[in-house]
Symmetry: C2
């Protein structure tokens, strides 16, 4: 049966476009070479930036004939690599492919090599390197001037020489490999940029919230603890439920927990750090921190969920909290979680006017206020975490 190279190529190109992991495509390409052109083995040397070397990454073909992946590592000064990267050798390529028979012929043609000892040395070394890999055709994958990889093919199973259309097929596939690698690098780069930016946002928020937290003498470390408790409670609730929240929910909860007291930046230190009980006026002033926090973040469109958490983390389940007196399920879930985490940490921390409760006492207090101050489901999750020794 004649191989329909056109169809093969179309398929390869089409598959490649959505393959972000180029290794999947390269595996397909090598399998297709081995099966359709019936070669003993085919493999690829892929450039690895971190080691500045070309590694035999994927091979296909009969065990025993093919090179085991990972074993062979060629640095940029290896003969085969230099052969492809030196302009001088270009004339020896057959439409982009290096064919062992052509190399042998050139070496026999002493005239063409006269006085070019270095060149002859390179050709000889390349020949030996090809032989050591049982390779009779090698095709480079270039992107502009960068050699990204080299396709290596063993002999045909029927030992006949390769036909023109088979060589063309290899060259086209080597180009496809270059494009797929380049495409995957682009995707990878964009995805790394996304991660980098997200990390930058989260770390900066954390650093600034920790700095603000450090101002309030009596709550030092409070922000990070509330963040840990909130996330643990949310995770427990979702582990026990069928609904899985989006990653966005956890990210919002993380940021809202970090920033829940950001509004305290608008409250005078003299009130925040007062040694002794507060007047009604001072208490009212402190309660404004929820609204002030929401106002600070209000211009940031992507923080809608976070703002809900900051603004309503002092609402009570029975409607007796502040700033709006929301009750029950009208309190945003994110705020109801922070409320429990925040109160729990407050109870187990020393205050100027009282000693810290034990964790057991604080859990009993959460249970006592379940349904009045706190959402019962969230208290249940906190209690279950405590019983497992995780709160």
């Amino acid at each position: 049966m004649r191989v329909n190279y056109k169809k093969e190529l179309e398929e390869a190109a089409r598959n490649m476009i959505l393959v972000h992991k180029p290794h999947t495509l390269i595996r397909m390409i090598l399998r297709s070479i081995v099966r359709k052109v019936k070669v003993e083995h085919a493999g690829i040397l892929l450039y690895e930036k971190s080691r500045d070397s070309y590694i035999v990454t994927i091979t296909r073909g009969k065990v025993g004939t093919k090179i085991p992946p990972g074993l062979v590592r060629l640095d940029a000064r290896s003969p085969i690599i230099r052969f492809f990267t030196q302009k001088e050798c270009g004339s020896l390529l057959d439409d982009g492919a290096l064919i062992l028979d052509d190399l042998n012929a050139a070496l026999k043609n002493m005239e063409s090599l006269a006085g070019r000892e270095d060149h002859e040395k390179l050709l000889l070394a390349t020949k030996f390197q090809m032989k050591s890999f049982d390779t009779v055709v090698a095709v480079p994958s270039f992107y502009h001037d960068d050699l990204l990889g080299v396709l290596t093919m063993g002999e045909k199973v029927n030992k006949k020489p390769f036909k023109r259309e088979e060589i063309d097929f290899f060259v086209a596939l080597a180009n496809d490999v270059a494009m797929a690698l380049r495409n995957a690098f682009l995707f990878e780069g964009l995805q790394m940029e996304i991660e980098r930016n997200k990390k930058l946002f989260l770390e900066t928020t954390k650093a600034l919230s920790a700095a603000i937290d450090a101002k309030d003498h009596y709550t030092r470390g409070h922000t990070m603890r509330v963040t840990d408790y909130s996330l643990a409670i949310a995770k427990t609730m979702h582990d026990e439920s069928d609904e899985k929240p989006a990653a966005k929910f956890y990210e919002d909860l993380y940021v809202a927990s970090l920033l829940h007291d950001i509004g305290k930046i608008g409250i005078p230190e003299s009130i925040l750090n007062k040694n002794g009980s507060l007047t009604d006026e001072e208490r009212k002033k402190i309660n404004e921190h929820a609204i002030i926090g929401a106002m600070i973040l209000e211009p940031i469109r992507d923080l809608d969920g976070v703002i809900m958490g900051v603004k309503y983390h002092h609402e009570h389940y029975d409607g007796k909290g502040y700033p709006e007196g929301l009750s029950g399920d009208r309190i945003p879930f994110i705020a109801a979680i922070i409320s429990v985490a925040d109160s729990y940490d407050a109870m187990i921390s020393d205050r100027p006017y009282r000693r810290a409760m034990t964790r057991e006492q604080a859990i009993l207090e959460l249970e006592r206020c379940s349904g009045s101050q706190f959402n019962p489901q969230i208290v249940k999750a906190a209690v279950s975490l405590y019983r497992k020794g995780q709160l």
Copy 2:
């Protein structure tokens, strides 16, 4: 001359892979159809999400015969669109292509339509719609079950019917278009995510810095003004130089300017807001804000450049500043710019112990301290901005 469809396809596929703007590829594909297959005109209806419609976006061919781009808008209920999205019509497709002649034949074959009035109506409406566009072949571009677009072809210039390989060529290209669109959407999505995250980081930093700024009664708005001045000075310097800094420099300068006084969060309000002159002890305490600011941001790896700006924005060009007494070019450039912007804004703002200077006076003061407190090049840029009425 016979068209080498294999080569055409390879080229199209290869070009597509790195084309993030699918319109460029589609334009190439349509041009190639018009030139190689010699059709009167070819065009594409592309799905536009915001309008939930298919728009004739790009057309190629003789003026007068081709549909002007943008003029035609088909909603999802249009006959041609319904034809491709209804399973029932699938049997009328020739390897994925809708050919006007086949449609006419089906309509003449009354038997096959017996009792299927709705179906007959749709076929008739599709036929009229194709005729109104002078279209004799239409090929859908699907990605999974989503119809992303429809390629439309006019008659061949020689009026002969299309050959099998020509129809195959159209179908292959329509698939390529689908993949290119899908690929471009992926890239676009990733790029939007990057923008979104970067904006979130910058806006959150800005909001938190503004909140911290608002604490310090005498500097309200100072942070945003310093940020504006720093960026304006940097821009002027670079406009006058051949070296263009990376976007990263401006981003670092923006963030460092926003956060240059972040360390003040560690200084007691009683000192920051003191009415009257400071003791040496208090002055020393305030000077710590540069180091404290750097410490707050230290854990964030990507803020290296920013931290330099925060830490050294009180160094003097002659080495008499703090915290380290660096001099000349050993002071990071980013910090030297903030130093000038910061001092300029301080001079033109009221303080509890003195009235604001005029801008003219402040500029004279910058010039007086050029080479001692300030980097002369930066002062020069500030003066030039002031003379243009931009500072």
